[in-house]
């Protein structure tokens, strides 16, 4: 049962064997998927990476290899390490904002007289947040 060559065997111009390691993960209707992976890892390295895994985990591995290859093609210098740095910076920013907001609550609880009603109406206003955060720095 070999109705047609998979995208990998087509690209490599070879016969698609019945137990082809690529066939389940690189269907012929999506040739670009193998082209990207081949460009970054090469066919033999992808085959090796898939073969060392139990078959029920190979789909996820092929998907993640494809994603990493796409990141590397889009950003040949940093690949997905660039995205990781960006996300880590984003977490740092949101955590800092959260700490400031929690400090704001604690301050209001302990010094209600310092918080005038017109300031209270400015919650969510960036200039208010900057002013409030300066209390805790």
């Amino acid at each position: 049962m070999n109705p047609g060559r998979c995208a990998a065997c087509r690209y490599l111009r070879r016969r698609c064997p019945p137990a082809c390691i690529f066939s389940p993960y690189f269907p012929p209707n999506n040739p670009q998927r193998f082209v990207s992976i081949h460009r970054i890892y090469g066919a033999s390295n992808v085959a090796k990476l898939l073969q060392q895994l139990p078959s029920h985990l190979r789909t996820q591995a092929a998907d993640s290899l494809y994603l990493e290859a796409q990141y590397r093609i889009e950003d040949p210098v940093y690949g997905c390490v660039g995205l990781i740095s960006l996300l880590q910076q984003q977490i740092h920013d949101v955590e800092r904002q959260l700490a400031m907001t929690q400090a704001e609550i604690a301050f209001r609880a302990r010094h209600p007289q310092a918080v005038e009603s017109n300031l209270l109406n400015n919650v969510g206003n960036p200039s208010f947040s900057n002013q409030a955060s300066s209390w805790f720095m």
Copy 2:
């Protein structure tokens, strides 16, 4: 001037040419760096990836390729895509916590009578946060 073979040429058991593409990024005192990269990408793919970049960007590219190779060795199924998913989940969680805390400030500003002094002393206590957040859900 070729005082010694680089880590790549040593691993590949070949002469290290004067203009070796690997030599500046794989010094002989860190052989593991090339072993990891070679295991995931293969030597010719790494050479190709480095050669297509201007020389002032190759150090960063070699570093990021090494990091990605390490992630893939540690997690052969998801590689650094696993870390990206984890970081995205972490951002989602912190953003949700921030939104809840901001809503808490807004609620207190508009309903000061609902916030009793003994509740105020519980700022930062997770059970208080859960109780407070239920007001806004």
